[in-house]
Symmetry: C2
Subunit: 281 residues, 2 copies
């Protein structure tokens, strides 16, 4: 199987429509139909069922979609990492990716501690929207990432745990619920006048439902202060809170684990150094 075939397949699977997929790929529809048919013949498996409104995946197709995404990310990663090694022969900067606006204290400690090491190399910090760090790591745009389980999918990476913490509910100061000693997630979700914000998905769209769309944490905290929303955050986020907010522990929210993650087989001395430093924090 060639990566071209996999790219074509993924496009068709995602669009559920050969014509649209062809447009997206910048080719005509017939060659794409033919390429898919050829792929199916070679695999000896139907990947799509043709319907009058487009195509839908078979179970074999679903398997291939999952696997193809991993494989394509691996090929992309190979290309990008090779380019990076070639460009900055020797002391290439390490690219560290983290969620914008989170773990700032931990990150600062890590970067300071690492910079003090004798053999430290330059660290490029790339802050991305939530959820994108694992993707960056998978396709070679980043060398190390700070991830948060269980939100990020760390499968396929080597990880070191840095911090385990509980989550708390942040509400407007003076709200009736703010005096409670603890709460469950279900209770937090059902406070009538305080909806929880919705987080964007990987593609930037938002799930349906009530609650404001979360774009910027400080903006949402402003909404909380105004008595228009509540939000669930890891407990260390309290450190950055200003007045007008109350904190209630959640008894049944999943614990958040902050980890440092890197691709297996990494040989970069910078990655090794960062991970070593992180382990000592």
């Amino acid at each position: 199987m060639e990566t071209r075939e996999l790219r074509y397949f993924v496009a068709v699977a995602e669009e559920a429509h050969v014509g649209r997929a062809a447009t997206r790929l910048g080719i005509a529809q017939p060659p794409l139909s033919r390429a898919i048919a050829q792929l199916e013949r070679r695999l000896g498996a139907a990947l799509f069922t043709r319907t009058p409104r487009g195509v839908t995946l078979t179970s074999a197709g679903e398997t291939l979609l999952r696997e193809a995404r991993v494989a394509l990310a691996a090929v992309e990663a190979a290309e990008r990492r090779t380019r990076r090694v070639a460009e900055a022969a020797g002391r290439a900067p390490v690219v560290l990716t983290a969620k914008a606006g989170a773990s700032s204290e931990l990150m600062a400690k890590l970067l300071d501690a690492y910079a003090a090491e004798p053999d430290a190399v330059e660290v490029d910090v790339v802050l991305t929207p939530p959820g994108h760090q694992a993707v960056m790591l998978r396709d070679g745009r980043a060398d190390v990432a700070i991830l948060h389980r269980p939100f990020d999918d760390t499968s396929g990476f080597d990880v070191d745990e840095l911090l385990v913490e509980e989550q708390v509910l942040i509400l407007p100061a003076g709200h009736p619920a703010s005096t409670r000693a603890a709460m469950t997630l279900a209770e937090a979700r059902s406070i009538p006048d305080l909806p929880l914000p919705r987080w964007p998905r990987l593609d930037g769209s938002y799930p349906e439902g009530p609650g404001p769309e979360l774009r910027d944490l400080t903006q949402v905290l402003q909404l909380v202060r105004l008595g228009r929303a509540a939000i669930v955050l890891p407990e260390t986020a309290q450190a950055n809170l200003r007045d007008g907010l109350a904190v209630v522990p959640l008894s049944d929210a999943p614990r958040v684990t902050t980890v440092i993650a890197w691709p297996p087989h990494s040989t970069s001395p910078g990655v090794a150094g960062l991970v070593r430093t992180a382990g000592r924090l």
Copy 2:
């Protein structure tokens, strides 16, 4: 980058010789030279330095070799898993791979317990030479593997620990060293008349050195009984020992962790069931 290019590159890198690589690939030398040159042009990086006796990898080339192997394994896995899902639509057997002749007790318990589950599917057990299980899992020939850290590279897989154990030295009964309460690895290696056997590498070749080549555990144990060798094994292997052998604990040998490993993103209900069962053992 197309997988064809990656396959060509890997062949040349492994042979360190364009002509031989071409033969191995079943094509002529000039197209291969051209393909490599084109790959280098597209990456904007020299991958090989040409010498009068062949070619050697640059640092960019070494990076690409490592990454390309991962990427190619992922592509192969995609193909194989899709084929398998298509062939045995529905209740496909799960392929479990393990080291031949090891963990037999644990495996039996696992398979028995799993077979007793209400929704159990068929399990194909594939016993392979040591070290091959991770490869099988990586390229899609197996769905689950029993691996042994630190010997197997579990990076890139999801794992559950099943058993942690110490290693012991097995020697002929009556040997002077057999009365010792404990020993270090270095001492074990330097017993003058009892060489440790050599384990085969992934490609089937053996490292240089003294000691018999290990092909079959029972054969080596026979050698031990005859006073011609000693061997280091996990302590549970004692259960299968017969007369004529003595056991000495090793104080500094790495602990061996038996794990059950599966590829991330696995959706097979059989894999999930096996892992769940294993976790309850």
